[in-house]
């Protein structure tokens, strides 16, 4: 599903080139549950952003479902982005002024889904995640765990093929974290490819593959032990 070949990401600053990612080669098959681990500043989030089309690689090739992303136009990128990829953030990034229902519905608005269908889809998701009772509340009225449930609900409402999660449990305590990870596991079983970034070994253990990053370079050894 995803093929990265020699991906570099760097920032040029006054005659000095700072690499964030260097020479990343990566193959991810459909249905995998991949965990990216590494210390702060290792380039995990940047990698995730590139995978999710939010950022462009400075150099290298990125093929998504066989299509070379670096050659896609903005419009095509946005199309892929909308129909194939969902995001979950550490800080949830819900819109505070909108209700739970509206937050979950929002991605569908940009996909030109008809009103009736939207209603059905949101109702379905609310039901599935057991948050029907919360649908008219605003995010600040929910606990962190509940907010993240909404975040996940919003990410998968468009039934994406790929779910990208940037430290989804970073702000949650263990019980809530487990709930979210169980959800991920279930989604993965249903065929969604998941790539998550985390610091926690425990959360990583839910996945079936771990990629260690250190200073923008993938390493074999456990990066936390060498620190």
């Amino acid at each position: 599903m995803i093929q990265l070949k020699n991906i570099d990401k760097y920032i040029d600053k006054r005659f000095q080139r700072t690499f964030i990612l260097k020479g990343i080669d990566l193959n991810i098959e459909e249905g995998e549950f991949v965990t990216i681990m590494g210390p702060s500043g290792a380039g995990k989030s940047t990698l995730l952003n590139i995978l999710g089309f939010l950022d462009d690689a400075s150099e290298g090739e990125y093929k998504f479902l066989g299509e070379p992303v670096h050659n896609l136009s903005e419009k095509q990128k946005s199309k892929y982005h909308k129909s194939h990829i969902g995001f979950v953030f550490q800080a949830y990034h819900l819109i505070d002024e909108m209700t739970v229902y509206e937050n979950i519905e929002m991605p569908l608005l940009y996909r030109k889904v008809s009103g009736k269908q939207r209603k059905a889809m949101v109702a379905d998701i609310l039901d599935r995640f057991n948050i029907v009772a919360k649908k008219d509340l605003f995010p600040p009225q929910l606990s962190g765990g509940q907010q993240q449930v909404v975040g996940v609900a919003r990410a998968i409402i468009g039934s994406p093929k790929l779910l990208l999660a940037d430290e989804p449990t970073g702000n949650l305590h263990s019980e809530q974290s487990e709930q979210i990870m169980d959800m991920f596991k279930k989604l993965n079983d249903e065929g969604v490819t998941i790539i998550q970034v985390t610091h926690s070994e425990k959360m990583a253990s839910y996945g079936n593959r771990i990629i260690n990053l250190k200073d923008g370079v993938p390493t074999e050894e456990n990066p936390y032990e060498s620190e």
Partner: protein, 580 residues
């Protein structure tokens, strides 16, 4: 002294005084300038209404600026609420918070006051030109003005500062700190202010467009006579000399190349500011009037012309015949009348009718005059008034005194050369007199000088109003975009396109401008109808002008807002969503 006036009037004007109720009185210098009943030509005259309107415009502009300032401070207030929260937590009392808020506003007002003074000094010539009045800002010698302006600054400070002070001072410190303050969008009050600003700006716009259109209409309306390529040469000589010069000059002119027709008339066609002020045109049809004609109660205007007048002015002869030197009896007793005259008298066969004037002894009596021809109607008065009856008498029908104007109709093109030739000819004929000339179309345009002046003022006001309202909108859009950076990032990640985001950010403002437009419609409708009612001939106010003004304001507002919206929309969401 005034008791002797009636006798004086009687000895000078005789019976005429009684008929026309002539009176004589004294007018004090004090207040003569604004007196509308007896307009003094010594002090000059102006309607006090104009000063009021001008002041009103200035006040509206000031109000728009004030509202702007207020809405910007209010919207920024949410950012400052944190600071105020800290101050309150540190023990500041409401009074101290108030003092700070008002202090800041006062300093801002003070700075703009001083800048305004300097600008006023610099812009004085510009305003003098625009209003056509000469005035001097004598700030240093007028303590009242000083006090007034200082008062304005204080009042402005109080009004603009009060709302945000009220909001700040009465909120609990904990609330000022709380993260919930981010939920606040643009306060309703601020929305109202923006809506009002645009309502005022759009009102001005509609007024400007209407005035432009009406002026175009006034200047381009077919008046029933030709104005292009017409040169009027002024004759201001006494007695026989005037007549001789007129004869000599017009005969010579007729022989010049590039001249189509020449006519000598009794009236004084002049671009006299006093004519303009009294809205009586440029002197056409003002030679005299007769209000004593049998069969008609109203007044009939008289014009003293020669046999070339119709040809020169392109006035059509509908029935009967023109004056002709071959028919001395026509010249002596004949009369040309216009269609309205015929309609007024209710004649079926106008040609040959004999007029009986109740006042036989008047110089300009029409008694015994015989209608020899009917001419088409023409607007000898400015378009403030409806078409009126007019009678044309021949200049040689009696001893009318020296003619007032020679009308020269030149061939199209090269008016400049024609003027040079005419002036050289004049130099040969009467070297001791000045050659004064005018163009008829310019004199017609000059009739509406006052309207053009007001149009310029309103145009300037609408420009200021729109510019100010847009400054405010720009600031608000910037703040709104800034505050919603995170939301925009999220939406973009969720698949929102550039258009989605720009629409999202502009929608609220567009609604406000639209609301302003709705408010502006009745106000503008009333105002322009009021203005237009001065004219007997006016444009129809259709929806087009309103829509055009609304669309103009909306476009300008959208351009203003979209700058910020697009900037926010193209930003990379990765930056705004980077975990804190």
């Amino acid at each position: 002294m005034e008791s002797k006036f009636p006798d004086v009037v009687k000895t000078i004007f005789g019976d005429y005084a009684e008929q026309r109720n002539l009176e004589m009185g004294l007018q004090s210098f004090d207040g003569a300038y604004f007196n509308q009943e007896y307009r003094s030509s010594i002090t000059g005259n102006s309607n006090k209404l104009y000063s009021t309107i001008l002041g009103g415009i200035a006040f509206i502009i000031l109000a728009i600026a004030g509202m702007n300032f207020m809405s910007l401070t209010l919207t920024r207030a949410y950012r400052r609420s944190h600071e105020m929260g800290i101050r309150k937590a540190a023990g500041a009392q409401s009074r101290q918070i108030n003092f700070q808020i008002f202090g800041e506003v006062f300093v801002t007002c003070g700075i703009s006051f001083i800048t305004g003074l300097m600008l006023a000094e610099l812009a004085t010539p510009f305003f003098q030109q625009m209003t056509g009045k000469s005035f001097q800002v004598n700030l240093w010698q007028d303590p009242m003005l000083w006090l007034f302006l200082l008062g304005m600054v204080l009042i402005l400070t109080l009004i603009t500062g009060s709302y945000s002070a009220f909001r700040m001072a009465h909120k609990k410190a904990s609330h000022l700190f709380s993260s919930q303050r981010t939920i606040e969008r643009i306060p309703l009050f601020v929305k109202g202010l923006i809506g009002t600003q645009f309502a005022l700006a759009i009102t001005f716009l509609i007024a400007t467009f209407t005035m432009n259109e009406q002026l175009n209409y006034l200047l381009n309306k077919d008046l029933g006579y030709s104005t292009s390529n017409m040169i009027t040469v002024e004759l201001d000589m006494e007695g026989d000399k005037g007549k001789q010069v007129a004869n000599l000059f017009s005969n010579e002119v007729r022989r010049l190349p590039g001249i189509q027709e020449v006519s000598t008339i009794g009236g004084h066609y002049r671009s006299d500011p006093q004519y303009v002020e009294f809205k009586s045109g440029f002197g056409m049809g003002t030679y005299g009037t007769s209000s004593t004609i049998e069969g008609f109660d109203g007044r009939i205007n008289l014009e003293i012309v020669d046999e070339h007048y119709l040809e020169t002015m392109d006035i059509e002869l509908l029935a009967g015949r023109n004056f002709s030197p071959d028919r001395p009896s026509d010249i002596k007793n004949g009369l040309l009348v216009n269609q309205t005259f015929v309609e007024t008298m209710g004649w079926d066969n106008p040609v040959g009718q004999v007029i009986s004037d109740k006042n036989e002894r008047r110089t300009l009596t029409l008694n015994g005059k015989k209608v020899i021809g009917v001419v088409s109607d023409f607007h000898f008065k400015p378009l403030y008034e409806q078409l009126q009856p007019i009678a044309l008498q021949h200049i040689n029908s009696r001893d009318f005194g020296p003619p007032g104007t020679i009308l020269v109709k030149a061939s199209p093109g090269n008016l400049g050369t024609t003027i040079t030739t005419l002036s050289e000819l004049w130099e040969r004929v009467v070297p001791e007199e000045n050659f004064n000339y005018n163009f008829l179309d310019e004199m017609v345009a000059l009739q509406y000088m006052e309207e053009q002046r007001w149009r310029n003022i309103i145009q300037f006001a609408s420009f200021m109003a729109i510019a100010l309202a847009c400054f405010g909108l720009f600031g608000l859009a910037a703040l709104s975009a800034q505050r919603r950076t995170k939301e925009i990032g999220i939406r973009k990640v969720m698949g929102a396109t550039l258009t989605n985001i720009v629409t999202l950010l502009s929608k609220d403002f567009v609604k406000l401008v639209f609301a302003g437009f709705i408010i502006a419609i009745p106000i503008a409708w009333y105002a322009i109808n009021q203005w237009l009612s001065e004219f007997a001939y006016r444009i129809e106010i259709g929806p087009a002008i309103f829509i055009f003004a609304g669309v103009t304001a909306l476009t300008i507002a959208l351009l203003t807002v979209s700058w910020q919206s697009i900037k926010a929309a193209v930003a990379n969401p990765v930056d705004s969503l980077r975990s804190e």
